[in-house]
């Protein structure tokens, strides 16, 4: 339907988007404020950006966040794709409903519950492996266990983020697989390809766009996560959201404005660029199809 929206609708939409963007604009404006009191205007200044770039704690936190986000998104992609495949292609089997429920539950479960429970698990593993206490661990298995779970840090955060993100990946992959033309897979098998190989040679390339989108979504979720991370991190593993949160609580906030502006700028550029790329690719495709039809 391509009707021009009536005035009342457009007014409403305008209001809605104003509501959505006003805080963001406010953040950006005040990032250039000289005054330490964020919202009392003292004059234009890039002072906070300068401070930001030289803040080692923050830079370390940003680096860590990116590292964890990358690891989480990748592992979540692998596990989530398998889960999505099972839900879309394996039909009904014993425990399939429970499986579907388990896979999608992290999406709605409050993070405080997930965080606390995972933490308790890791602590129990710690005691189990015997990493607490003064006696150093012996044996390679115990040492490996302690290395992984002994201290709360990158690995524990990684596990938590992956569990959360794989739910989103699974849902997106499942939906894409359901839409996909099954005869492509059948044709490949008919031509001699084993089912295992078909998945890698045919299915994955066909759903590649959905895979990329879910990786990006997982990356963003991990990068931005606070609560889960707060439970699962230890000394030395401060992530960017944790830095932001404590800065806000401590009142060291103007730097946060500067950081916010940079983040908004990067996100906007990425979203717009990827959107343009997608549209031009789509147009190219449509032109090719038209040309082929004209040829006959």
């Amino acid at each position: 339907m391509s009707q021009r929206m009536p005035l009342s609708n457009r007014l409403y939409m305008g209001l809605g988007f104003f509501f959505l963007y006003a805080p963001i604009v406010s953040l950006i404006v005040y990032s250039f404020n000289t005054s330490r009191l964020v919202t009392v205007w003292g004059g234009f200044s890039m002072h906070w950006y300068d401070k930001l770039i030289h803040d080692d704690d923050l830079l370390h936190a940003v680096g860590l966040s990116f590292k964890i986000a990358f690891l989480s998104a990748t592992l979540a992609l692998v596990l989530g794709t398998i889960a999505g495949l099972v839900m879309a292609r394996f039909g009904r089997f014993k425990g399939s409903s429970l499986f579907a429920g388990l896979v999608t539950a992290p999406m709605v479960m409050p993070e405080v519950i997930c965080g606390l429970s995972l933490l308790l698990l890791f602590v129990a593993l710690q005691t189990g492996f015997g990493c607490t206490g003064d006696v150093p661990p012996t044996g390679w298995f115990v040492q490996a266990g302690c290395a992984a779970f002994g201290e709360r840090g990158v690995i524990t955060i990684w596990i938590g983020h992956t569990t959360l993100c794989l739910a989103y990946v699974a849902v997106m992959v499942q939906s894409r697989l359901r839409e996909m033309d099954r005869s492509l897979e059948e044709a490949a098998m008919n031509l001699g390809c084993t089912p295992f190989k078909v998945f890698f040679v045919i299915t994955i390339p066909v759903i590649s766009q959905a895979l990329l989108a879910s990786w990006l979504l997982s990356f963003t979720l991990s990068l931005d996560d606070y609560v889960l991370t707060a439970f699962l991190s230890g000394p030395g593993s401060t992530t960017m959201p944790m830095w932001i949160f404590s800065s806000i609580k401590l009142g060291l906030s103007p730097e946060v404005n500067a950081l916010a502006t940079i983040v908004v700028a990067i996100v906007t550029v990425l979203v717009v660029v990827s959107n343009r790329l997608m549209i031009s690719a789509q147009r190219k495709r449509e032109r090719a199809i038209q040309a082929a039809l004209a040829e006959g």
């Binding site: 099972v86 429970s117 698990l121 959107n275």
Partner: protein, 318 residues
């Protein structure tokens, strides 16, 4: 040589493939809940970890299981207080029940408000022509991809006593003293609606965009006016989207921590905040666990109901 050949995969292959994510989820999602349950019956001590073990094996291999119901008593005691003492007094003293109530109340309000605000937005986007729709979706997605912490923080700057709104109103002479907006239920609700709006818009949009415009044209052709058409055709058909969106807002909102912490500042306390307090500040892990167990029990109903609803819908679509 394969003797019996099943649909596509050898049965062993399928089971292995299913087992990979299944075991991950069992270990890192289901198993932890049992730990929460277990620890909720434990006693806090000064030790590492700060709780006593449930099962103790003494020297002469006697096994004692000690269940400490104290964490749950804290909660049941509060319920008793409400039953016996006058309401205002009980409310003053109560910590947990008030926190639960705040969370549920504001989560419900948030769900309703995001639905009322988000539905028209989703509807308009779904009904727009392709290029407009694309731009609008992009505009909705950008805040979504921006850090939510930062966006909540932005509201602090707007709502505080020397924040944007008060500054503008004071300089215009409308008011002479700043309006206290921050650290109130209002600011928390505002933050929640703001944060959860995209989570309501997207499922609604996904559902509305599949709505066949010709159905509405047919209704119009048969003489139905816009508003009746909406209530009799569009709304019922978007039921799935409404339920999905509502659940995706309500359930996580109940357990919300960051927004009441930053925008509630101790004045508005959610159960998520109490949980963190017990865990991180008081180091009373058993208490925190008990709080979590009760929260989970409360949310069990909606979660299972949502799951069944989604399963039924998928079956119908096939």
């Amino acid at each position: 040589m394969m003797k019996r050949w099943l649909a596509r995969f050898v049965p062993k292959g399928r089971t292995t493939v299913t087992a990979i994510p299944y075991s991950w989820l069992l270990v890192f999602f289901v198993l932890p809940f049992f730990f929460v349950l277990k620890i909720s019956f434990s006693e806090p001590t000064i030790a590492k970890p700060p709780y006593t073990p449930l099962v103790q094996v003494t020297e002469d291999t006697k096994v004692t299981v000690s269940l400490n119901p104290a964490p749950y008593r804290t909660l049941t005691r509060e319920v008793d207080e409400f039953a016996t003492k006058p309401w205002t007094e009980a409310r003053q003293d109560s910590q947990y029940l008030v926190a639960y109530w705040n969370a549920i109340k504001l989560a419900l309000l948030t769900t309703i408000l995001t639905l009322l605000i988000g539905y028209p937005i989703a509807y308009n986007i779904a009904r727009s022509d392709d290029s407009t729709r694309n731009t609008l979706l992009m505009l909705v997605m950008i805040p979504f991809w921006t850090s939510f912490l930062l966006r909540v923080y932005a509201w602090i700057g707007i709502l505080k006593d020397n924040g944007v709104i008060n500054n503008i109103l004071m300089s215009l002479g409308v008011i002479h003293e700043p309006i206290s907006m921050l650290y109130t239920p209002f600011s928390v609700l505002l933050g929640m609606v703001y944060n959860y709006l995209p989570f309501m818009i997207l499922p609604l949009y996904a559902n509305l965009v599949k709505l066949d415009g010709r159905l509405l044209e047919a209704a119009e052709d048969l003489g139905s006016k816009p508003w009746p058409t909406f209530f009799q055709i569009t709304l019922p058909l978007s039921r799935a989207g409404i339920i999905a969106g509502s659940m995706m807002v309500f359930i996580p909102a109940v357990g919300e921590y960051v927004i009441p912490s930053l925008l509630g500042g101790g004045e508005v306390v959610f159960i998520g905040n109490k949980l963190w307090e017990d865990y991180g500040v008081n180091l009373n892990w058993p208490q925190a666990s008990a709080v979590a167990v009760v929260m989970l029990a409360l949310l069990c109903g909606p979660i299972i109901w949502l799951h069944r609803f989604e399963q039924r819908r998928k079956e119908q679509e096939q």
